[in-house]
Symmetry: C2
Subunit: 178 residues, 2 copies
């Protein structure tokens, strides 16, 4: 992911904030139009289901962008919580500014390219959720987020994969033996 | 979804093809860089897993765009099959042309907006796959694809939802009784 911060210059009100590990920067139910770019640290987005169980949607390390895209698009209240797994430095900008006359063609191209890339990864995730055993999904996670595996607690990786921590432990145990 | 075909004028080689119901227009393993715009008819994309079972990724009626975005982005062979559930008229264009100097700012904006919208729907789908009971996922399907429900065979809706046809039958039976 490129670190060219000029790509966010379409929002004159973009601001940078510092957060502590554990701090929640977006809650369910907000209508904020915010997109978050991680300059430093590690964020995650997740939902809490009707049984009060957490399900992690994605992780966002340095250079990644994270947002509740459904909320941005449909101007509906956010479903996703976003919080910090590490102390973080985050640039916050307003999604709607991207399509204003002031934003350059190059800016829009960079955003579109980033979006297509994210979409490709999401497509893979949906397909694997539907059709792949947990061990394959774990291997894809490690391959995609190689540097993150040691920065994320095991129970959160399990949540992201939709399996129990015990099942993850078994998978990792078998990998080590090989 | 808008029907403004000018948004595909960035590809001077874009072509329109007619297909019959049941015709496969893309197979797994191709490196074609194609994106398909449905002018008329109904397409679907799906994978076939290691146990020869079909899993439907999405449906694309008139005005929708369908492609293997992971393949486009990473220039890898397609995972997704795409075929026609009805006789169809399809415009085929090359994804890479979108970011060439010839394509207008407005064209890129329209593509980006369409992509954000699709991304929002995909986000919802991942979240529901992780956390919602089948009945809720079925209701969301009906709400999202209202006009499609009667055009798609029940076993395909079941496949899309990741449940058995029998389970879908039970859900629909309970809905009718209410």
């Amino acid at each position: 992911m490129e670190n060219n911060l000029n790509i966010f210059d379409f929002d004159p009100n973009a601001k940078t904030r510092h957060y502590k590990k554990g701090e929640i920067i977006q809650r369910k139910g907000e209508v904020n139009g915010y997109t978050f770019y991680v300059k430093q640290g590690l964020l995650r987005s997740y939902i809490i289901d009707s049984k009060a169980k957490e399900h992690i949607f994605m992780f966002a390390p340095e250079g990644w962008v994270i947002a509740d895209v459904e909320s941005l698009e449909f101007h509906s209240p956010t479903e996703l919580f976003i919080d910090c797994l590490e102390d973080a430095e985050v640039m916050i900008f307003n999604h709607d500014c991207l399509f204003q006359p002031e934003s350059s063609r190059e800016t829009i191209i960079q955003s579109a390219k980033r979006l297509y890339r994210r979409m490709g990864v999401l497509q893979r995730r949906v397909i694997m959720q539907m059709s792949s055993p947990a061990v394959d999904r774990y291997n894809y996670f490690v391959q995609t987020y190689a540097e993150l595996a040691h920065r994320i607690p095991q129970h959160m990786i399990a949540s992201y994969l939709g399996i129990t921590p015990q099942a993850l432990s078994t998978i990792r145990g078998k990998k080590i033996k090989k």
